[in-house]
C-alpha cells in the first residue's frame, strides 16, 4: 500500500508538535522503521496524537494507535480515527465478574487476536496498557492486555514511551487546551523473558515506563 497517509495527517502532525511543544528523547532505541508496540502512560486525549506526531514520517506511516471503539465511533471522530490516524478500534469495558465471565474471557481473547492480526508483517501499534486515562500523577497498574499481546506476537519489540505534561495541556474532563511544553521519552525495547509470569512481566514493563520519567510534574 502506497497511499495510506491522509493529507490531513501531514498537516496535523506538525500542528500537534507545535501546540504541545513536544521535546522527543530517544534514550533506549533509535527511531527505526521496524515492528514495535509503543506502550505509553495515558492521561490525555492528546496522548496518542502526540506520540504519533513525534515519530519520523516514514515510521508514522506504519504506526497505528489502538483506541476505544465507543469513543471514536461516531461522526467526525470516526473520520479522524479511521482515515487520518488509521486507528485500530477495539471494544473496552468488558466486565469479568458474574455469570458472563466466560463470555468476557472470550471477548478479551478476540481483542488480542484482532490486535495481533492488525500488526501484520510491517505495522506497529501505539498502546496504552493502563486501559484508561489517569490524572497524570501516577501510572496505574497495567491491564493484562500488553502481556497477552506480547506472548501472541513475540517477534515484535515492546518500546516504553513516557509522556510528560500532557495532563496539564489537556487534562481529563477538560475541553480547553493550555499549550505548555511536553516531553516524550522512548526507552529500551523489552520482550517477555523465558519463564516470566504475567505478573512479573507487567510489573517489569511498568517499571521500565516509570523509570523514563524526568521529574515530578505536579505540586
Amino acid at each position: 500500500m502506497k497511499t495510506k497517509i491522509h493529507p490531513l495527517a501531514r498537516i496535523l502532525a506538525p500542528a500537534v508538535r507545535l501546540l504541545t511543544g513536544v521535546q522527543v528523547r530517544w534514550l533506549g532505541c533509535a527511531p527505526e522503521n521496524r515492528q514495535r508496540i509503543y506502550f505509553a502512560n495515558h492521561s490525555s486525549h492528546l496522548d496518542f496524537v502526540v506520540l504519533w506526531s513525534a515519530l519520523p514520517a516514514n515510521v508514522r506511516a506504519n504506526t497505528r494507535p489502538v483506541a476505544a471503539r465507543d469513543y471514536w465511533q461516531s461522526g467526525f471522530r470516526s473520520f479522524l480515527a479511521q482515515r487520518v490516524f488509521r486507528a485500530v478500534l477495539v471494544d473496552r469495558g468488558i466486565g469479568s465478574q458474574g455469570a458472563n465471565a466466560e463470555h468476557a474471557r472470550k471477548k478479551r481473547f478476540e481483542v488480542i487476536e484482532q490486535l495481533a492480526l492488525s500488526l501484520g508483517e510491517s505495522e506497529s501499534l501505539i498502546f496504552f496498557p493502563e486501559g484508561t486515562r489517569g490524572s497524570g500523577e501516577a501510572v496505574a497498574e497495567f491491564k493484562s492486555g500488553l502481556y497477552h499481546l506480547a506472548k501472541r506476537r513475540p517477534d515484535v519489540e515492546l518500546v516504553p514511551a513516557y509522556l510528560e505534561n500532557l495532563n496539564r495541556i489537556l487534562p481529563k474532563g477538560e475541553v480547553l487546551v493550555v499549550p505548555l511544553l511536553s516531553m516524550l521519552t522512548f526507552g529500551a525495547p523489552l520482550r517477555v523473558e523465558e519463564g516470566e509470569s504475567k505478573v512479573q512481566f507487567l510489573h517489569r514493563s511498568r517499571e521500565a515506563l516509570c523509570s523514563l520519567r524526568r521529574k515530578a510534574s505536579t505540586a
Partner: protein
C-alpha cells in the same frame, strides 16, 4: 505587477523608520559579520575538548543572533502592529516556558487558559489602541484579583497561595514587564515624533549587547563569582566590564535617541543594571526548579525566557524613566 523594490517600499512603511534605525541595523550587521569571522578563527585554533565546546556554543549563539536580528528587524520595519504581535508572541512563548517549569494543579487549568489567551493578548491590545491608563493597571490590579478568585472558584485549596502567586508572578514578568518594551511606541516624545521604533531598537540593542558584553568579559577575564549559588557564570569582571562597555555603547549611540550623550549613558546604565538583575532573578528560579535553561528553542541560548530575562526587567524601568523625564 509591482516590482520587488516597490514591494519593499510598501512593506517598510516610511512613517515607522528613519535613517537612524537603518544605521543601527547596519551596525548590528557589521558586528555579526565580525563575530562570525572571529568564531571561524577561534574554531580553527581550539585545542582542548572543553575549549572546542565553548567555541561551538559561541558559534551556535552567533548563528542564532543572525536569525533573531533578522526577525526583529523585519518586525520593527513592519510597523506598530507587527511589533506588537511579535512581542505578544514572545510573551506567550515565555509564559509557556515559565508555567511548564512551575508546578500547577488541575484546578489552575482555566485560570491558565485566561492568562494565556485573554489577559496577555488584552495587554498588547491596550497598547495598540493607545489606552495607557488601563495598560498600566490591567495585570497588577485586575489580573491580580482575578487570578486568586478564579482559582478559588475552581475549588482546590491545596497550596492555594503559592499557586496564585506563581501564576501572577509569571504574568507580571512575561506579559506585563515585557509589554513595556513595545509600549515605547506609544510615548509621544517632543521633537522625536514618528521615530519611536528607533528608540525601541536602541533599548533592545543596549540591553542585549549588555548581555553579550558581560558574557565576553566574563569569558576573557572572569575570576571572582558574584553569586555562585545562583549563577556560576556571573563574575565581577564580566559584570563590571559588561556594564561599563554597554553604557559607553549606549552613550555613543545617543544620536539615535531623544537623549543627550550623558543622558544616554545614564539610561544605558539603568538598562544594563536592570538587565543583570533580571538574569540573576531568572537564574534563581531555574536553580530552584533544578534546570539549566527554561527551554531549548534557541540553539546555544536555551529557551526564549533565557534570552529575554534581562529585557523583562529593564523594560518597565526604561519605559517609565523615559516617560517621566522626556514626555511632558
Amino acid at each position: 505587477m509591482s516590482s520587488l523594490p516597490d514591494f519593499f517600499r510598501k512593506y517598510l512603511r516610511a512613517d515607522h523608520y528613519d535613517h537612524q534605525l537603518l544605521l543601527l541595523f547596519g551596525g548590528v550587521t557589521v558586528l555579526l559579520i565580525v563575530a562570525s569571522v572571529i568564531g571561524v578563527i577561534l574554531a580553527g585554533r581550539a585545542k582542548s575538548d572543553s575549549a572546542r565546546a565553548v567555541i561551538a556554543n559561541l558559534n551556535a549563539r552567533t548563528k542564532a543572533w543572525w536569525k533573531m536580528s533578522a526577525i526583529f528587524g523585519f518586525t520593527l520595519l513592519a510597523g506598530r502592529n507587527g511589533t506588537l504581535i511579535f512581542f505578544m508572541l514572545l510573551s506567550f512563548l515565555a509564559l509557556r516556558e515559565y508555567v511548564t517549569l512551575v508546578p500547577t494543579r488541575r484546578g489552575d487549568h482555566r485560570t491558565l487558559f485566561w492568562t494565556f489567551f485573554i489577559i496577555t493578548p488584552l495587554q498588547y491590545y491596550l497598547i495598540a489602541i493607545d489606552w495607557y491608563g488601563l495598560f498600566a493597571v490591567l495585570i497588577p490590579a485586575f489580573a491580580f484579583v482575578f487570578i486568586p478568585a478564579r482559582i478559588a472558584l475552581a475549588g482546590d485549596t491545596e497550596h492555594f497561595l503559592e499557586r496564585a502567586a506563581k501564576i501572577q508572578f509569571g504574568l507580571m514578568i512575561c506579559a506585563y514587564c515585557l509589554s513595556h518594551a513595545p509600549a515605547l511606541l506609544i510615548l509621544k516624545i517632543p521633537n522625536y515624533e514618528g521615530r519611536d521604533a528607533t528608540l525601541l531598537l536602541y533599548f533592545v540593542l543596549v540591553d542585549q549587547m549588555s548581555d553579550v558584553l558581560q558574557y565576553v568579559w566574563g569569558k576573557l577575564l572572569g575570576r571572582r563569582k558574584i553569586a555562585p549559588e545562583v549563577s556560576p557564570n556571573k563574575t565581577w569582571e564580566g559584570f563590571i566590564g559588561g556594564v561599563l562597555t554597554a553604557t559607553l555603547l549606549g552613550a555613543l549611540l545617543s544620536w539615535a535617541t531623544p537623549f543627550t550623550r550623558l543622558q544616554g549613558a545614564g539610561m544605558s546604565l539603568s538598562i544594563t543594571l536592570m538587565g543583570f538583575l533580571g538574569g540573576l532573578v531568572m537564574s534563581a528560579i531555574k536553580r530552584d526548579a533544578g534546570v539549566k535553561d527554561f527551554g531549548a528553542m534557541i540553539e546555544g541560548h536555551g529557551g526564549i525566557l533565557d534570552r529575554i530575562d534581562s529585557l523583562c526587567f529593564a523594560a518597565p524601568v526604561f519605559f517609565h524613566l523615559t516617560r517621566y523625564c522626556f514626555v511632558r
